[in-house]
C-alpha cells in the first residue's frame, strides 16, 4: 500500500485541467464513461466543456482500489443541461482520466 498523497485543492485541480487541455489536449476515458455517454447522449465535446468551464468540487474522494483521488467537476453541456464529470487527476503522469458522468 503506497502512502496517500495530498489531494489537489479546487484551484490547483482546475489549473492542472486547464494546463493539460491547453498543451497535450489529451484525455483518457474508461469503458464505463463511454457506456454512460451512449446512454445519456453526451459527447466528448460536452465533457471538455464541463472541464473547461465547470467548477471543481472542494472535497475529492480517495479511492482505495486504485490509490487515487477522484474529483467532481460540475457544469453544463452544450444543450445547457447540468452535467457532473468524475475524473482522476495524475499530475505526475500528466494525465486526466474521465471515470464517469452523471446529472447534477
Amino acid at each position: 500500500m503506497t502512502e496517500r498523497p495530498e489531494p489537489l485543492g479546487p484551484a490547483e485541480a482546475y489549473e492542472f485541467i486547464q494546463g493539460l487541455l491547453a498543451t497535450r489536449d489529451s484525455i483518457a476515458y474508461t469503458s464505463h464513461v463511454r457506456d454512460r455517454m451512449r446512454q445519456r447522449h453526451f459527447t466528448i465535446d460536452d465533457i471538455r466543456r464541463v472541464l473547461l468551464y465547470g467548477t471543481v468540487a472542494p472535497n475529492p474522494e480517495w479511492k482505495d482500489t486504485h490509490q487515487q483521488w477522484v474529483y467532481v467537476v460540475s457544469g453544463v453541456d452544450y444543450d445547457n443541461e447540468p452535467l457532473a464529470i468524475v475524473v482522476a487527476l495524475e499530475p505526475a503522469l500528466n494525465r486526466i482520466t474521465v471515470i464517469t458522468g452523471h446529472d447534477v
Binding site: R24, D25, S26, I27, A28, Y29, T30, S31, H32, R34, M37, R38, T43, I44, D45, R48, R49, K63, T65, H66, Q67, Q68, Y78, D79, N80, A88, A92, L93, N94, R95, T97, I99
Partner: protein, 177 residues
C-alpha cells in the same frame, strides 16, 4: 514525464500497458467515424481506457471534412459543427436566422435541413475554423457562397411570382383617367 511511466487502472489499480486499436468513435456525436491507431490502455484484469490525443485538432479536421461533403448535412453533423463554434443552440439558431425549435428539429433528425440552412452552416463553420487557425477563408469553399447567392436570388423570384396579381395598376390619388 513520459506517458510510459507506470500507469495504473482507475478501476482496479493494476498496471496498464498500451495497445493500438481501430475503434468506432460515437463519443464524438457522429456515428460514422472510425479512428485508427488509437492508444488503448489495458490492465491485467482487462479494463480498458481509450485516449484521444489532440482532440481539438481532430474535431476541427472532422468539421473541415463535413463542411465540404457533397451530400446535404445530417442532423448529428450539424450538432457536431455547432459545438465547434462553442455556441448554445439558441445563439447558433439566432446567428443563422432560424428559431431554436427549427434548429432542434433539424439536429434531432425530425426535419431535414433546408438547402439554404445547409449552406449557411457550412460557410459559418468554415469561416470560424479559418479565423481560429489565423487563416483566410478557404478558397475551395467559395462555390458554396455562389450557391447561396444563387439560391437567395432564386427564392426571391419565386416569392415575387407567388404574390397575387394586383386588381389594377397603381394610380396616384386624385388623378382622373
Amino acid at each position: 514525464m513520459s506517458d510510459h511511466a507506470i500507469r495504473k487502472c482507475t478501476e482496479c489499480g493494476t498496471p496498464q500497458h498500451v495497445e493500438r486499436r481501430t475503434t468506432d468513435y460515437p463519443e464524438s456525436g457522429l456515428s460514422n467515424v472510425q479512428l485508427i491507431n488509437v492508444p488503448v490502455w489495458v490492465c491485467e484484469n482487462g479494463h480498458e481506457e481509450f485516449e484521444i490525443p489532440a482532440v481539438t485538432e481532430l474535431h476541427d479536421l472532422l468539421a473541415s471534412m463535413i463542411v465540404r461533403k457533397p451530400a446535404r448535412l445530417a442532423g448529428a453533423e450539424i450538432k457536431f459543427l455547432r459545438r465547434r463554434v462553442d455556441l448554445s443552440a439558441k445563439t447558433f439558431a439566432d446567428r443563422i436566422g432560424v428559431t431554436p425549435v427549427q434548429l432542434s428539429r433539424v439536429e434531432t433528425g425530425a426535419r431535414h435541413v433546408t438547402h439554404r440552412m445547409d449552406l449557411l452552416i457550412r460557410l459559418a463553420i468554415a469561416a470560424f475554423i479559418a479565423a481560429k487557425q489565423g487563416k483566410p477563408f478557404p478558397a475551395d469553399m467559395t462555390p458554396f457562397i455562389t450557391k447561396l447567392e444563387a439560391w437567395d436570388i432564386g427564392s426571391h423570384r419565386l416569392r415575387h411570382r407567388d404574390q397575387p396579381t394586383p386588381d389594377r395598376e397603381w394610380e396616384p390619388e386624385g388623378v382622373e383617367a
